[in-house]
Each structure stands twice: as structure tokens, then as C-alpha cells.
Symmetry: none
Subunit: 208 residues, 4 copies
DNA sequence: GATGAATGAGCATTCATTCAT
DNA sequence: GATGAATGAATGCTCATTCAT
């Protein structure tokens, strides 16, 4: 019998009670540890359960399969970073392009935290890449970028803005991820963040 | 038998004889097919040997382990793309920034060819990421970019040029890979390539 | 990921070489032993491999899954019994109804051989019940019975003969299986076989 | 924890109170549904409890283990069918052989009701086959058949009657079960029931 | 009495690698 | 040199049953 190429990762049960929430948190924390310590290829439910100090059975009570754990980690990641960047890009106290500069810097720094885990999570992408939740995340991010472009490119057409938003998010996330994965020192990361921000600004100014 | 965290992937033997070269080629071709057809997770030595029409034993005569095949695939990839981009960036018949624009476009297009295989190869990155050969590749690319910067940023310091070269290659490869993986239509890819090129040019002009 | 309700049981490789044939035989023999000793619910590939003195991996080289082993056992069973009964029912040296009496007796006795294994194999029916090969067997048996009816019911219509054949095979196999499963002493089995034969004869005479 | 080869299935407590009776009924009903819906292999206590709308813990308050539920289902089945057939076979308003014909027809029809559940229950036979209660059932049925034989075979010896009763019940239940499991259309089932009845009558007349 | 979270042995299956032929 | 059978550790996941609350 064959497995589906992409398993269902919706959660098995909603942790309504405190104990459940705690357990889910413990599992996720253990998962991060296993990911960082052993890498994506050695990320097994048994190991996660072991590190979490629970039985495999319990783990499966809260996550329907291995993929769900990984996806959950990534989703939390997205939510956190998304909120951070979204907040900065919408911060009216700064000029749009300055917000962009700050956002890129913040994003690069956030990407470089827990690098081992992030690399491993990225390696695990095949497990959740095609999940509908992943598509939803993209959509939310796009919306955010579009909103920003209204201010950054006030005279551009909707189409132009959409394109610029696409480029901006793609470039920022792609470069950020790559830089993070390369394990560079903090100073270098900051410099590359500044340069990336500058690059994006230069582009937007030229377009705008 | 325990596996090393990062296996040795240097080749078991140099294929000096014609027969060997042929076999290695057949294995690599089969590997590409398996990768594209079955994905990174279903990429097994047995399947590669089967598709190549040889025995597993023979496969292991030319590659010390599975990782080595993947690495070789990626290395060939790099060599090919590196040559392409290197040639363009060194082409004296064009203005430096125009070369950059052309190079980005060529790179994005080349990345989008055989997308399935590339995605799979990328999924397989954990297998070869930490190999010394990978570092070597980075070095060669850097050299190439540095050479280009001599012309693009004639008045900059070595340090500035090195930084610009780093950013340029990082951005180009990161965005290119991401765009390719997203499976966008050719027109979109070209547009993003143009924009990325423009973005890099805008940056270099500002810096220069 | 869910499993198919009924797995594919076609064989993984044809044992062409002597060694293979031997190994397949060893596996089947071990399977019979495990089935008889531990019952259908404890019938595991690991146990079979262990009893066969080989590794699980080797077992899976010859059978694609657990079900395939069980099916093969049953198929061999069918072939053997089918040949036996077919031969008797076609034996021109006896009057048709006498052949029937002999066939029933032979069938009951054969059913009672290796009773433990048969009961276990029967318990495992859910694993192979819906396989196409099972349907094929039914067809072959029906053909055989139909041929017999030409002689036993020379004046009946095709439809009548088909019905009588159906009843005969159904009754014979159902009662035989039940009697075997009950683990009765040989004398009782013989007596019930005789009675069943008589019953079928009485019916055919009445119909004919 | 090790499992016994054949678990004890006698009930953990007698449901004397109304609430208990209700719960037991709910569990059994749920069990039937799970059996019919998911099959014997997917029949789990968790699923039964879920469908019954109670907790696993509660389920285990009324049944010592999974087998006990299945056995109880089968026992109820037997009681019901036994009563039906017993009533018919004892019905003085019909000639003995006519009662037999009617009984076979009724039995076959009853067997064909809820076929999915019955097949599943049969698949589950290994769970309860060796229970003492199963033997008791056989005894009761035999008694009933013996009683009938007093009328059907008035001139036969006790031994002859016992044998005929045995054959009759064995044949009837074996053929009925088989026919039911084959999922034939109602008309075919009735025809086979009639033929089986006729066959038994022919036998009894010849013996009598 | 009811609950349902927790347990963990058990299972089917895969696959990189070796080595006798 | 080529073959491919053999290995067996490793993996994801299930489920009967218990027991603290």
C-alpha cells in the first residue's frame, strides 16, 4: 500500500484544556530541539516523543502525523515573522522606504535566530510544501505587501504594485533564507540586510 | 551499520576508461529521471540502478554512496550554470550592467528548465550541503563575480567590490531558485528576472 | 495515510532460479508453521522470516506484502484440491454419482489435513478475499462442476445444470470447511462426508 | 502487557440496573455499526466507544475486552436465529419436512440481512471461536434439531437421529453462511435455500 | 461511576550497503 | 568487473488496556 505524496496535516484535536496546550507546546519544543540537533532526516516521531518525555502514542494524540508537527512549526514561524514584518511595513511613523529598510533588517535577523532549526525545517519543506495552509500563508503575505505598496508606490497602477510586491517579498524571503542558511556572522547578516533593503529601495524609487 | 552524519562523497574511482565514463553518465541520467519522476524522498539507489539498467553493485562501483550521486548532479549543474553566467559577465562586448541584466535573465531561465529535477535536487540538499566540494563551488563563483565587479565598480575598494559581488550572487541565486521552485509561467519568470536585474543595477549604480 | 482495503498481492518476482524457488518454498513452509502455531492474528512477516531462517528484507524480495504470502498459500491449496476433485469428477470409470460420493469424501479428508493451518488461513480470508485471483479460482471450479453435470444430469437444461453445479460446489465446500474447522475425529468426518455425498446424490436423482 | 491467546470474554458485570442495560445496548449497537462500516480489521474499542457516544473507560466497565463485545454480538445473533428456526421446526401445524423447508428459507434470509456486519463478525470469529459460550450454543442448537428429528425420523434410532440432526444443522448453517457471504441477489438466495431444503428432505426421506 | 489521556509493544515495510558468486 | 540476493536497523503509526482525576 502506498502513502499519499502529501499527507493531511490538519490537527487531530484542538487542545482546549490546559494540559493539552502544555503537551502540544512540549512536543513542539522537543521537535525544535530534535530538528536542530539531529537534522531533518533524523527527525522521527520516536525521537520527538522521547525528547518531549512522552510516549509516541501521546504524540499521535495531538498530531495526526509527523508532517503535522513540522507544518505546525513552520506555521508558527510564519505567523510570528509575518506579524513582525507586517507591523513594521504598516508603521506610519516612518517613511515607506525606511520601513522597508527596517523590515528587511528585522526579517534577516529573525531568520538567523535558531538557524539549525530553520535549516532543518526548510529541509522538511517537501513534507508540507503542498499543504493548503501554506498557500494561505502566501496569500496573507501578499496582501500585506500590497498594502505597503499603496504607500510606497502611490502613483503606480495596481498591476505595477502587485508586481513590485511580489518581487519585494520574493527577494526578501529568498535572500534572507539563503543568508541565514549560510550561517554567516551577525555583522555580515546585518550588512547584507542593509544592502538588500537599499537594493529594494533603489528599485522602488526607480519604478515609482 | 551506523551512518555518518555527513557522508564522504568524493568519488570512489576516477572513470578514466571509456566504459566507466559511459556508465557514470548512464547513472547520472537515470538519477535525473528518478529525481524528476519520484522526487527526492523516493530517490533510492535501487531505483537509479534499475532505470540505468545496471545492478546496484555496479552503481556502487562508481559512486561510494547515494549522496555522491546527488552531489555530482548538483556539481554538474553548477559547472554548467557557472560557465554560462561567467561567460556572460565577462563578455566585453556589452556594458557591465547590461551583462548583468542578461546574466540574470539567462540564469533564471536555466533554473526553470527541468524544474521537477531541480526542486528534487534542492530537497536533497541535506545530503551534499556540507561537502567540501560545495564550498569550492562557492569560491569559484565568488572569483567570477569579483572579476565582474572590477569593471562594474571601477572606483570601489576591494572590500566594497567583494561585498557587492557577494550580494549580487546571493541575491541572484536565491531569487532565481525561489522563482524556479514556485513553478511560475515563463513570462512571469522573465519579468522577475528583468526586475531582479534592474534592482541589482540600481544598487550598483547607487554604490558605484 | 491510509492503506488500501485490499492490497495488491501479485508476486514481486518470479523465482526462476533454483535458489529463489527454494527460498519461496522455505517462506511458504515457514508461513504454514507460523499460521498453525500462532494463528492468523499472530501471523507477522517478522515471525515468518524468523521461522524461515531469513531476514525480513529477503522475505520482501519474494513477496510484496504479507497478504501475498497468505494468498499464495490459499492458491496452492486451491490448486491442489481443485486438481484432486476435478480428477475424481472426471473419472469415466465410475458412475457420475459414485464419483461425486468419492469426491466429497476426498475433499473432506483433504480439508481436514493441516487443520490448524487451514483455520488460520480461513481467518486470513479478509486479506485475499477480494483479490482477482480468488475470482478466477471460483470460475475454474464452476467450469469443472458444469462439466460433471453434463454427465450427472444428461437431460437437464443448461440453466438447471448450472444451478445444480453451483449448489453442489457451494454445499460441498461450505460443509467441508465447517466440518474441518470443528476439528472432529476422522471417523466422524468420513461419516459426514458420506452423508453429504448421499444428500447431494439424492438431490441430483430427484432433479434429474 | 502480553495478551492471552484466547481472552476471557465472560462479562465483567451483570447489567442489572436499567442504565447499565441501556449502555450495553448502546455499545452493541455501536459495535454493529462499526463492524458494518469499517470491517473487522478496523473494529477498535475506541471507535466503538466513539460511535456509542461514551468513553473507552465506560466501555471497559461493561465488557472486559474487545472480544467480549464481538462474542456478545454473535451470541445475540445466535439466540435470535435459534429462536426463529426453533420455532419453525417445532411448528406442529406443518409436516416435519415442510417445516424444514420453511426453516432453511427463513435461515438463509436472516443470514443475508445485514450482510456486511455478518461478514465482519465472521472475520472476527478468531476472537470468540474458542469461548465456552460458543460450545453452549452448539449444544442448544443440537437439542433443538434432535427434537425435530423425533418427528422427522420417527422410526430411526437415537444414534441415527443424532447424526441426521448434526448433518442438518451443519449443512444448513454452513451453506447459509457461505451463500450470505457471497452477497448474492435475494432471488438466488431463495433458490439456493429451496434447493438446500429439498436436498435435506431428500436425504431424510431416503434415511427415514 | 465516568472519563479520556497515556502507554508502549507491536507491526508492515523500506532501503543503503555489502559480498559471495 | 558485474551481479543482485541478503541484511536488519530504522520508521511511521495503531490500538488494547489502564488508571489518575
Amino acid at each position: 500500500m502506498k502513502k499519499r505524496q502529501t499527507p493531511i496535516i490538519s490537527e487531530r484535536k484542538q487542545p482546549r484544556q490546559e494540559r493539552s496546550t502544555l503537551l502540544v507546546a512540549a512536543i513542539l519544543e522537543a521537535a525544535v530541539r530534535v530538528l536542530a540537533r539531529d537534522g531533518a532526516r533524523r527527525f522521527t516521531t520516536a525521537r520527538v516523543a522521547d525528547v518531549a518525555g512522552i510516549s509516541v502514542g501521546s504524540l499521535y494524540q495531538y498530531f495526526p502525523n509527523k508532517e503535522a508537527i513540522l507544518f505546525r512549526l513552520q506555521a508558527d514561524e510564519w505567523e510570528q515573522t509575518g506579524g513582525l514584518i507586517g507591523g513594521i511595513l504598516a508603521d506610519a511613523s516612518l517613511a515607506p522606504l525606511d520601513r522597508l529598510r527596517v523590515a528587511v533588517k528585522a526579517f534577516f535577523r529573525s531568520e538567523c535566530e535558531e538557524r539549525d532549526m530553520r535549516v532543518a525545517l526548510d529541509d522538511a519543506a517537501p513534507y508540507y510544501r503542498d499543504a493548503p495552509e501554506t498557500a494561505e500563508h502566501r496569500k496573507a503575505v501578499t496582501q500585506m505587501a500590497l498594502q505597503f505598496m499603496k504607500e510606497a508606490l502611490p502613483n503606480a497602477s495596481n498591476k505595477q504594485r502587485a508586481f513590485a510586491a511580489d518581487l519585494m517579498m520574493t527577494a526578501m524571503s529568498a535572500i534572507g533564507k539563503t543568508v541565514s542558511e549560510q550561517g554567516r556572522p551577525a555583522a555580515e547578516v546585518d550588512a547584507l540586510a542593509a544592502a538588500t533593503g537599499e537594493m529594494l529601495c533603489a528599485y522602488l524609487e526607480r519604478v515609482g
